[in-house]
């Protein structure tokens, strides 16, 4: 799960990381009110769940109140990577002496949380990782001790010479780690972390992602979720025990198992078609799940054919067939469907489906070819 910058800033503040004052605004009028009492310069920042906002023109410095309002007019309603800007953050501008990067991520290889810092702040860290990987300092944190004082200090010393700045930065690293663990984050980034002309360190932009598996114990984080249209569908599917992701193609797929679902999408592509979605119905052949899955699939108007690909292991193909037959009685559709059942009790399942007149096949490859053929009719 992702959150907006303004939400990440709120979390940073709660944990004592210094963040400049800001105000979230949904309209030009709200921006006018927000800058009314401000004397200094401000920054107007688009709040969308996409990276590269600055490059897209969604972050602007304003020297005067009227300039702030002008920027807000342009930014509100702007499209950034497919997201419409519906709100902007108005923040105090800071006199930046130098920018740094600080981030925490889960690392698959060390099986730990890694602290990453770099003196190359303010740019996308992925770029630095590609062009100058030696400029990123990585430090795996022992989960049993956390980030100890001396560790945080020694890392900060690689970025700063002045001990006062070292202490400020070290404290921010430790606070960031504390909130990372407490909120079940999978990414917590301050980019940039800046030193101002008065030698104070501030976090002036933040990004946080959270572990979907841990949301059950993070009600405050879950309450911050602001899903877009596609994500609403994904969340709805998840609540029904399905895993669904919409794509741009024309062949809807319903599969049991995530790996097999991905392999099914790939196979459609291999034979010249394009998958309309990823859909894993999981290990159950519960008829209601099949009905829900078909409803979600067919709500996508681009779908010209449906490929059902089931490999029965513990799941029995005759149970799946029963679910399908029930589902097709409830759902009226003229979208052609091809059914592939293999594995446990496939013969019985296929015989049941054949009675309904739906085309059945034995292998994945045949199913993909047939679905593509049907979608082109």
């Amino acid at each position: 799960m992702k959150i907006h910058e303004y939400q990440a800033r709120q979390i940073f503040r709660e944990y004592g990381i210094p963040v400049p004052d800001d105000k979230l605004c949904h309209s030009v009028k709200e921006v006018e009110e927000a800058v009314a009492n401000k004397n200094g310069m401000t920054v107007i920042k688009a709040q969308v769940l996409a990276g590269g906002r600055g490059k897209a023109g969604g972050v602007k410095l304003a020297k005067t109140k009227s300039e702030a309002v002008e920027h807000a007019k342009k930014i509100l309603g702007m499209d950034i990577k497919g997201y419409t800007v519906e709100k902007v953050l108005v923040t105090d501008a800071v006199d930046i002496k130098k920018e740094f990067y600080v981030g925490l991520i889960n690392d698959r290889n060390t099986k730990s949380v890694i602290l990453m810092v770099s003196a190359e702040g303010g740019v996308e860290i992925e770029e630095v990782a590609k062009t100058n990987p030696e400029k990123i300092i990585k430090y795996p944190i022992d989960p049993l001790t956390g980030l100890l004082d001396y560790e945080a200090r020694n890392i900060a010393m690689k970025l700063f010479g002045d001990i006062k700045l070292v202490r400020q930065a070290a404290s921010i690293f430790q606070k960031l780690y504390k909130l990372y663990v407490a909120t079940d984050s999978t990414l917590a980034e301050i980019n940039p972390l800046i030193v101002n002309t008065e030698d104070q360190i501030w976090a002036i932009d933040g990004k946080m992602n959270f572990d979907d598996n841990a949301l059950f114990r993070q009600p405050e984080i879950l309450a911050m979720r602001e899903p877009d249209e596609d994500e609403l569908k994904e969340i709805d599917a998840h609540e029904k025990g399905l895993s669904y992701i919409k794509l741009d193609g024309t062949i809807g797929c319903m599969v049991n198992g995530a790996g097999l679902a991905m392999a099914t999408m790939d196979m459609i592509k291999l034979y010249g078609g394009s998958p309309a979605n990823f859909l894993d119905i999981g290990g159950s052949s519960n008829p209601q799940k099949v009905v829900d899955a078909m409803n979600i699939l067919l709500s996508d108007k681009n779908v010209k054919a449906v490929m059902i690909n089931i490999f029965g292991g513990i799941t029995r193909c005759d149970d799946v067939a029963r679910g399908l037959i029930k589902a097709l009685k409830i759902i009226n559709t003229d979208v052609p469907i091809v059914v592939r059942l293999s594995g446990t009790n496939a013969t019985e399942g296929l015989a049941m489906i054949e009675q309904t007149g739906l085309p059945t096949v034995k292998t994945m490859s045949e199913a993909a070819k047939k679905a593509i053929e049907l979608s082109n009719r």
């Binding site: 290889n109 794509l247 049991n256």
Partner: protein, 293 residues
């Protein structure tokens, strides 16, 4: 021979009185696995399909000599169950539970390392040494004893491939489902080494997917350390960036972890990558003919 489990494996089922735990305990026993005990706090003295239930893993180990554990408890309690098994001296823990928070797994790892406990999973279907022992939720009937080792991040895709192998008369030494989570126990490098050292394994199938760079590491390991042939398949070539494809670990983040990168790494290592699952038995047979020629 085989790796990790065999006919001498003595299994304890944690969460045996739950729906899944009970069902699969019976299935494993039916397959021939020595299921010696179950654990469910407060239910010591009961039995599930003839399997004695204990209050703790410690009690189960003392009474039965169990050396392997399989975990079916809900995700929120899985980390604790893994640590309980490790503390009780279990050598190999297989966590089936899906949806375990990754921070829980990160905290578990250093303790397992200290206790020298091997872990498979979480969010995995388990493993099988055909004809000897099945631990997990794999459908036993599709497997066949033979000389191919298999490791996979997937469940049903593995069954699909195994079914094709068995139909092509390519039996298996051991098949391991390593699970779909980003932070997991034994992974490709550990298992490749085990298969390399297993005298009965002649060739290995590796089924990978998008996310992380473990396949790239496996490719390097194969080049440097493996004498036995490996055939690979990678799922997720059509997966979009930034979306979690069912498995928590199956995500392309910031453009890395793509199928294309993984396939390129295997190409470079001389590991054939099947275009579709049905090509795997053909590629394996080509490799095996060369060995036996």
């Amino acid at each position: 021979m085989s790796i990790l489990i065999n006919k001498n494996t003595k299994l304890v089922v944690q969460g045996i009185t739950g729906r899944d735990g009970g069902f699969h305990a019976s299935k494993m026993k039916e397959y021939g696995t020595q299921v010696v005990a179950g654990v469910s706090p407060g239910k010591e003295g009961e039995t599930v399909n003839g399997i004695p239930v204990f209050n703790s893993v410690e009690n189960a180990v003392k009474a039965t000599g169990a050396n392997t554990s399989v975990i079916f408890v809900p995700a929120a309690f899985a980390a604790d169950a893994i640590l309980e098994a490790s503390a009780a001296g279990i050598d190999l823990v297989i966590a089936i539970s899906e949806g375990v928070p990754v921070n829980d797994m990160i905290r578990v790892m250093p303790i397992l390392k200290r206790n020298k406990t091997k872990l498979i999973g979480p969010n995995c279907p388990g493993l099988i040494t055909p004809g000897e022992s099945l631990v997990g939720i794999l459908p036993g009937t599709i497997f066949k004893k033979g000389n191919v080792g298999l490791m996979s991040r997937s469940g049903t895709l593995t069954y699909e491939v195994v079914n094709m192998l068995t139909e092509s008369n390519l039996g298996q030494t051991t098949c391991v489902g390593i699970g779909g989570d980003p932070v997991a126990g034994l992974y490709y490098l550990d298992l490749l080494e085990m298969f390399e050292n297993d005298p009965d394994t002649e060739a290995v199938v590796l089924i990978g997917e998008i996310g992380g760079d473990a396949e790239e590491q496996a490719a390097r390991f194969i080049t440097e350390k493996m004498s036995k042939p490996v055939v690979a398949f990678i799922a997720g070539q059509t997966a979009p960036s930034g979306k979690r494809m069912g498995h928590a670990g199956a995500i392309i983040s910031s453009g890395s972890g793509t199928a294309a990168e993984k396939i390129a790494a295997f190409d470079k290592a001389g590991v054939p990558v099947a275009k579709e699952p049905s090509e795997i038995p053909l590629l394996l047979k080509e490799k095996l003919i060369k060995i036996h020629a």
